[in-house]
Every structure is written in C-alpha cells, then in structure tokens.
Symmetry: C2
Subunit: 198 residues, 2 copies
Amino acid sequence: MSRRLEILRRATEIFERQGVSRTSIEDIANAVGVKREAIYYYFKSRNDILAEIILPSSTALLVGLRNILRSDRPSREKLRAAIEGHLSAFSPSYLEMTVALREVHFGAGDDKLNELKKVWTEYGELWTALIREGQANGSFKAGVNPKMASFGVLGMCNWLSRWYQPGKGMTIADITDTFFTMLADGLAQVPAPTPPSA
Amino acid sequence: MSRRLEILRRATEIFERQGVSRTSIEDIANAVGVKREAIYYYFKSRNDILAEIILPSSTALLVGLRNILRSDRPSREKLRAAIEGHLSAFSPSYLEMTVALREVHFGAGDDKLNELKKVWTEYGELWTALIREGQANGSFKAGVNPKMASFGVLGMCNWLSRWYQPGKGMTIADITDTFFTMLADGLAQVPAPTPPSA
C-alpha cells in the first residue's frame, strides 16, 4: 500500500470513529506512524484528505445514476436500480459513506470540497429527474412534488449511515427490497381478498 | 428569561451553527456574556447541556407516539399521525431536532444522555409496533420487515435535519402529505384508467 493510500485509509477509520471535527492532522500522523510534516507532503489540509476519501464513492454513485437514467428501462425499474445503487455503496464503502453523510461542512475556499458539493447537487437533481420522468410517462403518481419525493428517498437511504452495521443482521439486498416495496407500492396497499366467485 | 434558560437557548444556537464537538463551555459562556464558572453553576458538562436541550422534544415525540398507538384509529391513520407528529417537531423545535439528529455521541457515564438514548430506543420500538399492528390487522403489507420499515420511515423524516429550512419553500404540511402518500400508497401505484364502459 502506498503511503498516500495508507494515510487515506487510516484517516477514514479515525474520521468514522471520532468524527471529522475532532480529528487533527496530528491524530492521523500518529495512526500512520509518521510526523505531521509527512502528512502535509501529500495533503494540504484535513478537508483535502476528507474530500479525497469521499469523492471517489460519490462520483461513482453519480455516474451510476446517470447510466440508469439514460437506459431505456421502465421508470419503475430505474427507481429500483437507483435505490439499489445508492444502498450498495454502503457495503464496500461503508466507512466513506458514513463519514460523508454524518458530517461534511462546506466552507469557502475548499476547492475539493466544493467539487464534492457539485457532485452531490447533480446527484440530487438526477433523482428528481428520475421521478419527474416517471410522472411524465404515467408510471408514477402525478401529484407528488418530485424534489420533495427525492429528498424523501435519499433520506431513507442516507439514514443507513446512522444505523446500518455491515455484516450484522440486515443485508443490503433485503433493505433494497423493503425500501423499494414501500416507496413504489406503498405499505398500506394490500391486495384485496380474492372474491369467492373468481 | 432565566439565566438557566438563556444558557440553553444560546447553547442550542451555537451547537446548531458550529456543531457540538466544536463548541466549548467557554464559547457558550461568551455567548451568554458570563464566565465559565457561571455555566458550571447550572450544568455539569457540555453533554449535560446537550441532553437538556434535546430531552424535552424527544420526550414529547415519544408521548405523542404512545398516544397515537393507544388510540383506536385505523392503522393507516395512525401512520399518518405518526409521520405528522415527527415532522411537526421540526417546526417549533427545528434547532433542537437538528442538533439531536446531526451528532449525538453516547458515551459511558453520561446519565442524562443515557436517558435520551432510552427515549429514542423506545420511540423506535413504538414505530416498529405501529407497523407490526397494521400488518396483523391486514392494513399493511405482510411481507415487509417492520423494523427495517420503521428505520426507513424514520430516516426519511430525520433527514429533514439536513435539508429542511423553516419558513423557506416547502412546508411541514406539504412534506407530511408527500411522505405519507409515498409510504402508504407508493409512488408507482397509479390508478388504472377508467374503462370506457364504466
């Protein structure tokens, strides 16, 4: 493992454990077993490290969602694929997702964090577009505000950063099924009993 | 306003603005315009202040949900009332909810924070019970894991702490309608066109 990669791995672990705001460059240096200066050789600041941890998985999510939207699948299947894509990021990249979703504060002058912000904004817009497209082609309920709905879906999925524990109990596949069933078909939509004559 | 209450108000504002972990007792004292000692006269620690800020709204949510569950309304209406109750907490208690949901780390020996943890645990269990009850009486889909579903609903609602801005754009009433429609009836459940003969 390169020194640069090792710094990113250790920083991710510490960020997840004690929070970004409580972590100093010193803490990261200690975990890697080097001096502060060695960290600054590779990274400008703590936010620089943070952005490099989060950007890859965020960009992968964005690219994945773009591809789903461009495909010619029915809207219902696109919704399922989008939920699956988002939740699946928690499995290999659990630490990165958790750090990203628990606490990222965008400040002025943080170039890399601003890049991240752009990725997230576009990602949210694509979700809204997915729902709007489904409404336009008659697959989704027309009366629902697509932006509010996308905040709802993303909230449901992002909240995994607060409760999901990889490898324990619920699997990502089960959670995907459950969330998709609730969101697409509704918890209170129960098939009517078959009439006796049928 | 009593001194004690003033400390709680100022602390809430600072916690929301700069995060709990970045806030010192000194910061709170400065905001109130007193010395550190004056803060310690009323509160043992920062976590003590944090718990007192969050406990009242969390307890109110718990009591509200208990009452909803005990009522004899149909499960569908209970679900709506529970979503409404949860989201409504963001309107008068926006700052408290945001601080509570963004970052509370439970440590050993924090009596008051542990009290909060108990409240949250019971609250989550009541949500699961609400869904399970609806499944038992045939109002909700049987195949859905009630605990996973309650994490989903709570995530959808709790995520408001990351995007909702009181007084701007979307209202709590609109968000309640949208989330309830999605969760109860499903985004992809579109009424079939009326047959011409009907």
